[in-house]
């Protein structure tokens, strides 16, 4: 099926949810509200005509100061059977920084959602194992947010694990061969 056709059908099925349909270089993305994201995804998965059985990618995006709501969770879907694609972008605001988990639809969403939580701080409601994944458990902040510095001297706020490494290296300096 043509992805544009799927997007328009989705708009008729969920008129209150679909905000916008974009097309760029032949890729169609549908911007939706986050409230019924699981219904939308279940429909895209279950409908035999769509049959998006493969969640290619799930990631976050931060549009700080560019648009409101600030965050988006982006789902890139692919159908192995029909070989068509669509992109769903769910808007998440900074104040209500949570969205329903889609792990019940695609098991593979599990780690993607953990990563999105780790790096953007978006909570996934109903996730079976909601923990940080790439960064240590006691890390402060969410690095892929646009207001997180790429490089800076954190001083007292430095991650304790790193401070311990620096301390050890200072202590071991006396064993250096001169």
């Amino acid at each position: 099926m043509d992805p544009m056709e799927i997007a328009l059908q989705l708009q008729t099925a969920f008129p209150d949810e679909v905000r916008k349909i974009d097309e760029f270089r032949g890729q169609v993305s549908v911007t939706v509200r986050k409230n019924r994201i699981r219904d939308i995804m279940s429909r895209l998965w279950a409908e035999p005509e769509y049959y998006f059985d493969f969640l290619e990618d799930l990631c976050g995006a931060d549009y700080l100061g560019k648009k409101e709501p600030r965050f988006e969770v982006v789902y890139n879907l692919h159908s192995m059977k029909h070989s068509h694609k669509i992109r769903i972008r769910a808007e998440v605001s900074e104040t209500d920084c949570f969205i329903d988990s889609v792990t019940t639809v695609w098991a593979g969403a599990n780690w993607h959602e953990r990563e999105c939580y780790d790096l953007f701080g978006i909570q996934f409601i109903g996730h079976p194992d909601h923990r940080r994944i790439l960064l240590p458990e006691d890390w402060e902040g969410h690095p892929l947010r646009k207001d997180y510095p790429v490089k800076s001297d954190l001083g007292e706020h430095e991650w304790p694990g790193f401070k311990a490494v620096v301390e050890t290296s200072k202590r071991n300096r006396r064993y250096e061969v001169r």
């Binding site: 290619e56 593979g108 599990n110 690095p143 790429v150």
Partner: protein
């Protein structure tokens, strides 16, 4: 006197595997809850190699972000570069010239062969067949020498560029590569004689690490790990890029979805890759290797030289010395078939010289997340075999 029978109590034991363990192929840590020799629960911990490549990518220009992608799957950096270049090309709406496309296809397939060879070497070593390692590194060495001959680097090549490749291949390269392809199928047979009928190999791979086709798709598994379970999904066939539409090749699939089928898939892929390289060598067209409108670090072909020397030493002005508007605002998801599976780049552009968001969809990340499913309920000895069969590189998993 009757023997007193005491009821034996079993308690679960927690074993920590890794992160420094030779069989984890990098720094993967697994926490295993064991009941006797059976794995009850397996919890992977990743992130030891997290370098924030996505964050750094946002601070670099499109051309300067390319070498970062080398550091993802460092055993096949050619395919990473191709994936990134293709994504940016599609975003900018430029197309590489035919010769560059063919060269990139050749390099991708050489990369696939060297990656699969490394896989069979280490996987066999992990489950007890040492000899294959020594044989297969002989062929990998040849391929790395060929990479070195073309671009001066063996692992982190940064050879494909946005809109083409960095430099042309020489006649000596083509001659040696042809010699390699003549010899290679015989070498693959050699590996097979070592392990294919080996009783220990068969017992350690047949019926182990089962993954059904539905589960594999639902978990988002791609590449040979998926194809070993049956589904015939290959990005090279599904949405051909570069020169894959012009060459003839088969996509091997398995049926049982166990370790042995995945191994067979990868062995067949070695031969298919060899076939693709031969066809590309026969058809290799002449012409430029870089698109005229490519935003490359090499000086663009039609750029007036004088103008470039007059401009300041600002990177952006050298790299983008054209007046054409290169930076459309938009977003693109573009994927290729890397040796490990589907490697995708999702790039959001806001019309600036730097990507607003650079997301890497890495196959290894997904494959590690499937490990608990493969390991739980099986013997602890098979954990190592399962880590091998999903073919992970932790640099790509942690990014």
């Amino acid at each position: 006197m009757p023997l007193e029978t005491t009821e034996s109590k079993t308690t679960e034991m927690t074993v920590n595997l890794g992160p420094q363990h030779p069989a984890t192929h990098g720094v993967l840590r697994l926490v295993l809850d064991l009941n006797g020799e059976t794995v009850v629960k397996c919890t992977p911990h990743v992130g030891y190699l997290h370098r924030g490549i996505e964050k750094i990518g946002e601070t670099k220009t499109y051309t300067a972000a390319l070498p970062l992608t080398d550091r993802l799957d460092y055993v096949s950096s050619m395919t990473n570069n191709v994936a990134y270049s293709l994504a940016v090309e599609r975003l900018f709406g430029i197309e590489a010239p035919p010769r560059a496309k063919y060269i990139r296809t050749i390099m991708s397939e050489m990369s696939r062969i060297s990656s699969h060879i490394l896989w069979i070497a280490t996987h066999a070593l992990d489950i007890g067949a040492m000899t294959v390692f020594l044989y297969s590194f002989r062929e990998r060495e040849k391929l790395l020498d060929l990479f070195e001959m073309t671009c001066g680097a063996r692992l982190t090549v940064a050879y494909p560029r946005i809109g083409g490749v960095r430099c042309d291949v020489g006649p000596e390269f083509l001659r040696q590569l042809r010699d390699f392809t003549d010899e290679f199928p015989r070498r693959v047979r050699e590996y097979e004689t070592l392990i294919d009928q080996n009783r220990i190999w068969l017992q350690r791979t047949k019926g182990i690490g089962f993954l059904s086709a539905e589960d594999a798709i639902n978990w988002g598994v791609t590449g040979p790990t998926l194809r070993g379970s049956g589904p015939c999904y290959d990005v090279r066939k599904d949405r051909p890029y570069d020169a894959y539409a012009d060459v003839d090749f088969d996509v091997p699939v398995g049926a049982a979805g166990d370790l042995y089928d995945r191994y067979r898939c990868r062995m067949e892929e070695l031969l298919q890759s060899n076939r693709i390289i031969r066809q590309c060598l026969d058809k290799l067209p002449d012409g430029p290797i870089l698109a005229p409108d490519a935003p490359d670090l090499a000086l663009p072909y039609d750029a007036p030289k004088k103008k470039i020397f007059e401009t300041s030493l600002d990177h952006a002005s050298i790299a983008f010395s054209h007046e054409r508007d290169f930076f459309p605002a938009g977003e693109i998801y573009s994927a290729i078939e890397a040796p490990k599976g589907e490697l995708g780049f999702y790039i959001i552009s806001d019309g600036n010289t730097r990507p607003y968001r650079m997301r890497v969809r890495s196959p290894s990340f997904i494959h590690v997340s499937v490990l608990p499913k493969l390991c739980e309920g099986h013997l602890v000895a098979d954990v190592i075999a399962n880590i091998g069969t999903i073919d992970v590189v932790l640099g790509e998993c942690d990014r």
